[in-house]
C-alpha cells in the first residue's frame, strides 16, 4: 500500500486552473489576457502533476484534506497511481488543447465564457482524478457536468440547446443515481468512503445489497462512460465546437465516467469481493456488446465527428471490459487505454477540426482528396487510425495486447475475439476514409494549403505522442508503468 | 357542495375534540394539576414579593413582564400594519367631500355629556391597576373608545383636535419607549436588563416603575385604537 505523505500539490493542481477560470471570467474580453492565463494555467498544472509523478511511481501517495463535514467525509485529495494516470494524461492533453482552441476559436463570440468554463472543466477533471474519497469524486464529477454544459451549447443554436438539454438529462440522472449509490455505500460501510483500502464495502454485505449498489454505481458512472444503452447524449453533444468535443468528449467528461467505474470496481468494492459475484461478468458482457455495436454504428455515420463519437463510445467500453475481467493484465489494459485512447482520439478530433476550419467540410463523403491538400493533418489522422486498428508499435496495440492476454489469462477467450472484431471494425470505418483522403483520384487540383500552424502543430504533437506511447510506453513516467503500479496496488500484488 | 364538505369536516373535528375533553378533570375541580404548581406559588408569595394584592397584575407586570412587553409590541405592530395598508391621506384633500351624515343633535348632546365621564374612569383604571382590578390595556382601550365615540358624535375633525397628528406619532410608541427606558434603567441600578431594581436598594422604585409602565401602555393603546379607527374611517 502506498505511503501517505501530506502534500499541498494534489489540491494545488485543480486550484491553479480554477483560479485561471475566475481570472478569465473577469478579464475575459481581452484576448491577450485570456490567452496568457489559459496557457500559463495549463502549463503550470501539468508541471505540478508531473512533479508528483516520481513520488507516485516510487509508491508515495500525496494526500491533502480540507473541509471535513464529518469524520471521514469531506473534500480530500490523494494522488495515488490510478489518479495520477488519469490526471497526467488530462493535464498534458490540456496544454495541447489550449493551444489548439486558441487557434480554432479565433474570431468566435463570447470567448471569455468559453475559456473560463474550459479551465473550470479541467480543474474539475484533475480534482476528480486525484479525489481521495467517493464524495469528493462525486462533487467534482457534478462540477464537471455543470461546467461542460455552457461549452456544449456554446454556439447558442437551437440544436445546440437541445443537445445541451439531452446532455443534462442523461448526465444528471446518472449523477442522481450515483448520489444514491454513495449514500448507500456510506450507510453500508458506516462512514468510510476513502479509497485506498482495496474495497470499502464490508465483505459480509448481503448479495442483494451488493448487487443494487454495484448496479447503481456502475450505471451511474456508465452514463458518462457512454456504455451502450446510456450513450445517447455523446453523439448529439458533437454539435459543440471541436476543441470541446476533442477535450470533453474524448478525454475529460467521458473518461470521468470510465474512471469512476474503475474506482468503483477497484476501490469501492475491491477485486476479491467482486470475484465471488456474477456482477463483473454482466458488466463485461455489456461492455463487449457496446464495443461491437458502437463500432457498427460508427460505420453507418457519414458526419466525421459523429463517427468519432461512436468510436469513442466503443473505445470507452474497452476500459470497462478490462476492469470487469478482474484480471491484472486486463486491468493494466484498461488503465493504459485511458491514456492511449485519449491521445489517439484527440489527434483525430484535432485533425477533424483542422479540416473543418480549413476546408469547411464535415462529412466524410465530401473529403475525397483531402490527403493531398492537407498531407500532415491527414498523416496524423492516419497514424491515429492505425493506432486504433491495433497496429503494433502504436498506442492502441499495447492496450489490445494486454486485453487479449488478460482475457486468455482469466479464461475468457472471447475477449480476444472481441478485440479482434473491434480492430477489424475500426479498420472498416477508418481505412475507407484514408483511402478517400489519399488515393481517390480527384479532378480539381489541391488549392487550399495545410491548416493554420496553431491547429497543425497540436495535431502533429498528438500524433507523435501516439507513436511514443506505442514505442517507449514502458519508461517510468509513461502511462503503462503508472498503470502497472496502480493495478499492483489494486490487486494487492 | 362545499358546505357539505365543511360540515362533514366539522363533525369529525367535534368528535375528536369532545373525546379528548371528556378525559379532562371537570372545570374548577380542585385536583386540576395546575392548582398545585405555579399559580399556587403566585397566590401565596405573590402579594409580598410584588407588593400588590392584584395577583393578575403581579403576574402581568412582574413575573411575566416580557409577555406584557410582547403584548404592547403586538398592538403597536397592528397599528404599523394598519398604517402600512391604509397610509393616512393628507387631511386637507379628503376633508371636503365627506358623504357621512352630519352628526345629529341627539348624539352630539349625549356624547358631550358622557365622554368626560368615560375619560375619567379610563384614567382611573390605568392608574389604579396595581391595587384593585383593572390594568393598563383595559384603561387604554376605554380611552380609545372615548375618542371614537367623540369623533362619531361630533365628527372626527373635531375629535382629532384632541389628538393631533404629531402628538399621535410619538404617543403610538409610548409603550415601547417606556420599555426601552425600563430596560436601560436595569443595568444602571445593577439589576440587569429588563429587571426591576432590588427592593432593598430602592424600595419605592418598583411601584413607581410599575405605574410608569402602566401609564405608558395605557396612553399608547388609547392612541393606537383611535388612530386605527381614524385611518379606516372614510376609506370604505
Amino acid at each position: 500500500m502506498p505511503v501517505e505523505v501530506w502534500d499541498i500539490r494534489p489540491a494545488l493542481a485543480p486550484m491553479v486552473s480554477f483560479v485561471c477560470a475566475l481570472l478569465v471570467f473577469i478579464g475575459g474580453s481581452r484576448a491577450g489576457w485570456r490567452r496568457f492565463w489559459s496557457m500559463s494555467a495549463a502549463l503550470l498544472k501539468f508541471i505540478i502533476v508531473a512533479s508528483m509523478l516520481p513520488g507516485t511511481v516510487g509508491g508515495v501517495a500525496y494526500t491533502f484534506r480540507f473541509a471535513e463535514f464529518a469524520p471521514g467525509i469531506g473534500i480530500g485529495f490523494r494522488a495515488d497511481a490510478l489518479g495520477m494516470a488519469f490526471a497526467t494524461v488530462s493535464s498534458l492533453l490540456w496544454v495541447v488543447a489550449t493551444v489548439y482552441s486558441i487557434g480554432y476559436m479565433k474570431g468566435e463570440r463570447s470567448l471569455g465564457r468559453f475559456f473560463g468554463f474550459f479551465a473550470l472543466c479541467v480543474s474539475a477533471t484533475v480534482a476528480l482524478a486525484l479525489a481521495e474519497n467517493l464524495l469528493t469524486l462525486f462533487i467534482f464529477y457534478e462540477v464537471l457536468t455543470i461546467s461542460a454544459y455552457p461549452l456544449v451549447v456554446h454556439d447558442e443554436t437551437p440544436e445546440a440547446l437541445r443537445a445541451g438539454r439531452t446532455y443534462f438529462t442523461y448526465t444528471l440522472t446518472g449523477g442522481g443515481v450515483i448520489l444514491l449509490g454513495i449514500a448507500m455505500t456510506y450507510v453500508v460501510s458506516d462512514g468510510v468512503l476513502a479509497f485506498g483500502h482495496n474495497g470499502i464495502v464490508p465483505p459480509d454485505t448481503t448479495p442483494a445489497v451488493l448487487a443494487i449498489l454495484f448496479v447503481m454505481l456502475t450505471l451511474g458512472f456508465g452514463v458518462k462512460a457512454a456504455i451502450m444503452p446510456l450513450h445517447g447524449w455523446l453523439p448529439r453533444a458533437m454539435v459543440a465546437p471541436t476543441p470541446v468535443s476533442a477535450l470533453l468528449h474524448a478525454v475529460a467528461v467521458v473518461k470521468a465516467g470510465a474512471f469512476g467505474v474503475v474506482r468503483t470496481v477497484h476501490d469501492v468494492f475491491g477485486v476479491e469481493l467482486l470475484r465471488q459475484t456474477w456482477l463483473p461478468d454482466a458488466l463485461a458482457y455489456l461492455a463487449a456488446f457496446t464495443i461491437i455495436a458502437a463500432s457498427v454504428m460508427a460505420l453507418l455515420q457519414d458526419n466525421l465527428k459523429r463517427r468519432l463519437a461512436y468510436s469513442t463510445v466503443s473505445q470507452l467500453s474497452y476500459v470497462l471490459l478490462g476492469i470487469a475481467l478482474l484480471n491484472p493484465w486486463a486491468a493494466v489494459a484498461a488503465v493504459v487505454h485511458i491514456a492511449n485512447q485519449a491521445v489517439q482520439k484527440v489527434t483525430m478530433f484535432f485533425a477533424a477540426g483542422a479540416i473543418q476550419r480549413t476546408t469547411g467540410k464535415t462529412n466524410i463523403s465530401e473529403m475525397s482528396g483531402i490527403g493531398r491538400r492537407m498531407p500532415a493533418t491527414m498523416g496524423a489522422f492516419g497514424v491515429a487510425a492505425l493506432g486504433f486498428t491495433g497496429m503494433p508499435l502504436l498506442a492502441g496495440f499495447i492496450s489490445k495486447w494486454h486485453m487479449s492476454v488478460g482475457g486468455f489469462d482469466s479464461g475468457m477467450w472471447w475477449v480476444a475475439l472481441v478485440m479482434a472484431a473491434s480492430a477489424l471494425l475500426n479498420a472498416a470505418y477508418w481505412f475507407p476514409m484514408l483511402y478517400l483522403a489519399f488515393f481517390k483520384p480527384v479532378s480539381e487540383e489541391p488549392t487550399l494549403g495545410e491548416a493554420r500552424p496553431s491547429l497543425l502543430y497540436p495535431t502533429l504533437v498528438c500524433a507523435v505522442l501516439v507513436i511514443l506511447l506505442g514505442l517507449v510506453s514502458d519508461l517510468p513516467g509513461m502511462p503503462l508503468s503508472i498503470a502497472r503500479t496502480a493495478v499492483a496496488q489494486a490487486f494487492g500484488m | 357542495m362545499r358546505r357539505l364538505a365543511t360540515l362533514l369536516l366539522l363533525a369529525l373535528l367535534a368528535v375528536m375534540l369532545l373525546s379528548a375533553v371528556v378525559e379532562l378533570p371537570a372545570p374548577g375541580s380542585p385536583e386540576m394539576p395546575f392548582r398545585s404548581h405555579v399559580s399556587q406559588h403566585y397566590l401565596e408569595q405573590g402579594a409580598e414579593e410584588v407588593g400588590t394584592t392584584n395577583i393578575v397584575k403581579a403576574v402581568l407586570l412582574e413575573y411575566r413582564l416580557f409577555d406584557t412587553f410582547g403584548e404592547a409590541a403586538v398592538i403597536f405592530t397592528a397599528l404599523a400594519g394598519v398604517l402600512a395598508v391604509l397610509p393616512p391621506r393628507d387631511r386637507s384633500g379628503s376633508g371636503g367631500h365627506h358623504d357621512r351624515a352630519a352628526p345629529g343633535q341627539v348624539t352630539g348632546y349625549v356624547v358631550g355629556r358622557t365622554v368626560p365621564a368615560i375619560v375619567i374612569f379610563g384614567t382611573y383604571l390605568v392608574l389604579s391597576g396595581h391595587a384593585g382590578p383593572g390594568g393598563a390595556f383595559q384603561g387604554g382601550v376605554i380611552l380609545g373608545a372615548a375618542a371614537i365615540s367623540l369623533s362619531l358624535g361630533v365628527g372626527s375633525d373635531h375629535a382629532r383636535e384632541f389628538l393631533p397628528e404629531h402628538v399621535a406619532a410619538w404617543l403610538h410608541g409610548a409603550a415601547m419607549v417606556v420599555f426601552l427606558l425600563f430596560a436601560a434603567i436595569g443595568p444602571l441600578t445593577g439589576a440587569g436588563v429588563f429587571a426591576y431594581p432590588s427592593t432593598a436598594a430602592l424600595p419605592w422604585a418598583r411601584e413607581w416603575l410599575m405605574l410608569f409602565i402602566e401609564a405608558g401602555i395605557g396612553a399608547a393603546s388609547a392612541a393606537i385604537i383611535a388612530s386605527v379607527f381614524w385611518s379606516m374611517e372614510g376609506r370604505a
Partner: protein, 495 residues
Amino acid sequence: MSEWPGQLLVSVLALPVTGAALCLPLHRISDRVATAWTLLVTTVTCAGAFMVSVRVSHVGPFSHHLGGWLAPWGIELRADQFGALVGLAAPVFALVVFYGVRYSRHAVEAARRGPYDALLLINLGGLLGFSFTGDLFNLFVFMELFSLSAYALVAYGKQKVAAAASFRYLVMGAFSSLLVLFSIGLLYQLTGTLNMADMAYRLADGVPHRPVVLAFGALALGFMTKAAVFPLHLWLPDAHAAAPSPVSAILSGLVVKMGIVGLIRTYDIFQGAGGVDLPTFNMGLSTLGAIAIVFGAVLALIQDDIKLMLAYSTVSNIGYIAVGLGLFNESGLTGASIHIFNHAVIKAALFLALGALTFRTGYRTVSDLRGIGRRMPITVGALSVAVISVVGVPPTAGFVTKWYLAVGAVAAARPLLAATLVFSALVMLIYYLRIVNAFYFRPAVHEEVERAVDPPLDMLAPVVLLSGASLALGLIAQVPIGIALPGVMRLLGGG
C-alpha cells in the same frame, strides 16, 4: 444577575421591537435619519444574535431568567442549538434590510416607508424571540409578533392581488395561532406550567393520554401551517409572490422556518409524553415532505413568473426539511436543521437577485427577461450560482443537505424517499436550465432589458455575498453542522 450572555440575549430580543417604535416618528422628521436608525438597530441586533449563536456553538445552550425569577415562575429565555442556527442566519436578515433600503425607496411611497421599517424590525425581533425563548406562551407572543408584521409586509406588494394574498395569509396564520393558543391553554391545564422544559418533565408522568394527544395534534398542526408543510401550504405561493422581493426573501428564508423551529420545540415537549405516538407522526411528516418536494417541483415547472416559481421552490424545500424531521435519525435531522440555515441563505440570494432584475427592468417573467445575462452579468451570475445551490449540485450548500437527507433516507431503509429526494432536484435543475438558457442564450425582447445594467453596489453586494455564501457553505459546511449536531443528539438522546 446572570452574567453577560443573558443580558446580551435579552437586549437582542428587546432592542429591535423597541427600536421599531421610533421608526414611525423619525420618518415624519427625516427619511435619512430613520433609515440610518433602522440600519443601526438591524446591524446591532443581528450582530448580537450572531454572537449568541457563536457562544452556543462554543459553550452549548445557556438560558436567562427574566426578572431574576427562576424557571417555572418567571419567563426563561433559552438559546439552544436550533435557536443558534436561526441566529446564524440573522446576518442574512441584515443583508436583506441593507439591500432593501434602495429597493424600498424605489418601490414604497414615502408615507408607508415608516411602517415598513418598523414592521421589518418587529419581524426581526419576533423571529429571534421565537427562536430564543424557553417559555411556551412567550413563544406564542413572539409568533404573533412576526406573523402580524409578515401579514402587513406582504400587503406592500405592488400587484393588485397583494391585499387579497395578504388577507388569505392572515386568515391561515390566525387560524394556526389559535390552534397554538388552544394547545397552550390545554397544556397549561395539564401541567400547570408554561416553561417548556418543566412541561416536558411533567408530561412524562401520569397525565391523561387523550388530551395530551389533542394538545400535540393542535400544536403540531399549528406549526405545520406556519411552516407551510404540504397540505397546509396554500397561502404561501401567492403571499411570497405578491410581496416585494426583500420581504419575500425574509418570508421564504426565515419566517417559514419558524414553523419548523416550532415543530422541533413540539418534539422537545412531547418527547417523553405517554400516549403520543411520535414514529407514526414522523412517518406521516416525512411522507408529506416527500409529496411537498414533488408537488413544489412540478408546480414550479409550469410557472412563467420567476417569483411564483421561487415560492413553489420554497414549498419544495420545506418538504426537504419535513422529510429530514420525519426520518428522525441522526443524518436526517442534521440535514433538516442545517437546511434551515442553508435555505435561508440560498433563497435570500435568489429573491434579492430577482429583485435586482425587476428593479432594473420592471419585468419578472422568464419570457420577458430574455437576454439579460449579458447585460447584468454579475447579478445573473449570482442568480445562476444560487439556482445551482437551491437544486443541490455538489460543491454548493444545497448538496450538503441533500447528501445528509439521502444518507438518512437510506439509513432509515426508505429507498423510495431517497429516490424522490434526488430526482425531484434533477427535475428542478432541468427546469432552471430554461431560465439560464433564456437569460444567456436568447436575444433580448424588451428594450428595458437591452438598457439594463448591474444594480448599484449597495444592492449588488448583498446578492453577490449571499450567493457566494451559498457556494462557500458547501465547503465549510461543518460550521452549521457543528452547531446542529449536539442539538440533534440531544433530541435523539432524549427520545
